[in-house]
Amino acid sequence: MKRDWGIWLLLCAVVFGMPLFIRSPYYYSILIFIAIYGIVVLGLTLLMGYAGQVSLGHAGFFGLGAYFSAILTVHLHLNPWPAMGIALIATVLVAFILGIPTLRLRGHYLAIATLGLGVVLQIIFKEELELTGGPSGMGGIPYFHLSSITFSNDRKYYFLCWIFLIILYGLSINLVHSRIGRALRSISQNQTAAGSLGINVSWFKLLMFGLSAGYASLAGSLYAHYLTFVNPSPFGFMASVKFMAMVVIGGSSSLWGALLGTALLTSLPEFLAVLEDYEMLVFGAILILVMMFAPKGLAGIFSWIYQTIRNKVKKQDAPAG
């Protein structure tokens, strides 16, 4: 727990120190996307790493958040903040309705259901022309305001997104180290034994599913009010796969690993852009290679390095002492 809060503090320091070093809006925008995707991935990590469930449709919840925010502010002229809240509640509700019947089943039925939901949602975004603007999208989404501050430039938005991420990260750390966190970890290790201790297995899975959908919805709202424009293409199956890949490459049972995975996979395409046509090839290869050689992801590699160094230091200390 102490280590988690240590990493949290380190992250705070980096977030608030970063603006001293960067000037270019290009870097700000990459960092903003890392924060937005990071929020989705935090939720997904709680679901995959702690509750042991796979979702192949989180881009759908991400899109729901974005579109609810967009529709409520553009068509109904709502203030972005309450719109974000309504989007959150509505998305979590959708997740609950989808989750209740499937979570009772063993196996990967949740993954299958989320995959279906994700695809259906993207088609709805494409087809409901009057509401969503169809494939060409909808613009004119207002910026967030806070009294006299308008979050319109990249620098301000950078702080807004990262503060959201830091808060959600903190709440997630609390959750993991609580009675519920313990229940979740026991479920992922032995469902039957967890049940025999009075832990309501399907309720906790459902709770995590709803929570992760909520995180994705918040991220979606942040996304919509940043670009002030949404279209269906970033909310498809491939996006869901990328979110899942971020969790897995980072290391699915650690929150900070997930953030690391997000940072890597979000900035990687920027570097890979040089490769142009090779981008997909490299992305696919990375996914396979990480799964083959580091199934616990980056977090696993770092833990291993940390342990090795610590053991070496201990060995060196031993003869001296």
Partner: protein, 293 residues
């Protein structure tokens, strides 16, 4: 056209696409049975089959049927290589990790396809230049007939293979109980390898059959793969007759809903059926019971 002619026309279209979904679903089912992996690269096998046929045909100047057979064979080989390089080294890993590897494989294969063939869509000529057949008020194109006949042939051969050959029986034994199969001297590794080859072969076959009707491109496999997956779940994953049924049901529902309800939502119906299915009969249309938590 009278309403019944129209209905008939929709049914013909539905059965044609449904047959292709059925072949893809069979591929999912075969791999699931031997490994419990859901192979998300299944759609890419379809794409590879058709793309390879498209480029071999004019390139080598061979007759179309030679190009088709070569394309199917090459794709089957790619399936085998995929298993050897990416699946076998981690065969003891968790199922989630293996599924992610197949997703990585799917992205990788798409990347390779973009490199080789670029991003434009391509097509094959119809297998035979038969005149469309008037069938009551509807028309049945020559290629539709090829698709239906090809699928039927594949299903019959597969059935024969599972029932009559040693390898087929060994595959069934693996699906039933892997440990027991191993104790009986069946090499489970070989069966897994074989199942990847077989489902790549079926996928590629589906690809070459449908390409003269629908065109193909580097990303054509994704949707086909997902629909085939819906079909496999609908039929109860792991059941071969179920996969065929599921494919036909999805093809027909899709075609009817596109005709009568909304063409824009055509792609959504397969998934709506899938969701409905999970609510009502999670074990698939042909199975009866499923263990609950």
């Amino acid at each position: 056209m009278e309403w019944y002619d129209q209905l008939l026309q929709y049914l013909i279209t539905g059965i044609t696409t449904g047959a292709v979904y059925a072949l893809v679903a069979l591929g999912f089912s075969i791999i699931y049975n031997s490994t419990e992996i859901i192979n998300f690269a299944q759609g890419e096998f379809v794409m590879l089959g058709s793309m390879i046929a498209v480029s071999l045909f004019p390139l080598l100047g061979v007759p179309l049927w030679v190009a088709v057979i070569l394309a199917v064979a090459i794709t089957a080989l790619i399936g085998l290589i995929f298993e050897r390089l990416a699946i076998r080294p981690v065969r003891n890993g968790s199922v989630i990790n293996l599924i992610i590897i197949t997703i990585g494989g799917s992205i990788l294969l798409k990347g390779i396809a973009v490199l080789i063939w670029g991003k434009e869509s391509r097509s094959l000529p119809a297998f035979t230049s038969t005149e469309p057949i008037k069938f009551f008020g509807a028309t049945l194109s020559g290629q539709s007939l090829w698709v239906m006949a090809g699928t039927l042939l594949a299903v019959i051969l597969l059935h024969y293979f599972y029932e009559k050959t040693i390898t087929g029986k060994a595959l069934r034994a693996c699906a039933f109980n892997r440990k027991a199969a191993r104790l009986c001297g069946i090499s489970v590794e070989r069966m897994v390898l074989f199942s990847f080859g077989l489902s790549a072969l079926l996928g590629a076959f589906a690809g070459v059959l449908i390409t003269p009707i629908t065109y193909t491109a580097w990303d054509a496999g994704t949707m086909l793969g997902l629909k085939g997956f819906c079909a496999a779940i609908l039929g109860g994953i792991g059941s071969n007759p179920g996969a065929v049924m599921g494919g036909l049901v999805i093809g027909i529902v899709e075609s009817l809903s596109a005709g009568y309800l909304s063409s824009g939502y055509k792609d959504a119906f397969a998934f709506l059926i899938l969701l409905l299915m999970l609510y009502l009969r999670p074990a698939g249309i042909l199975k009866k019971k499923l263990e609950k938590v």
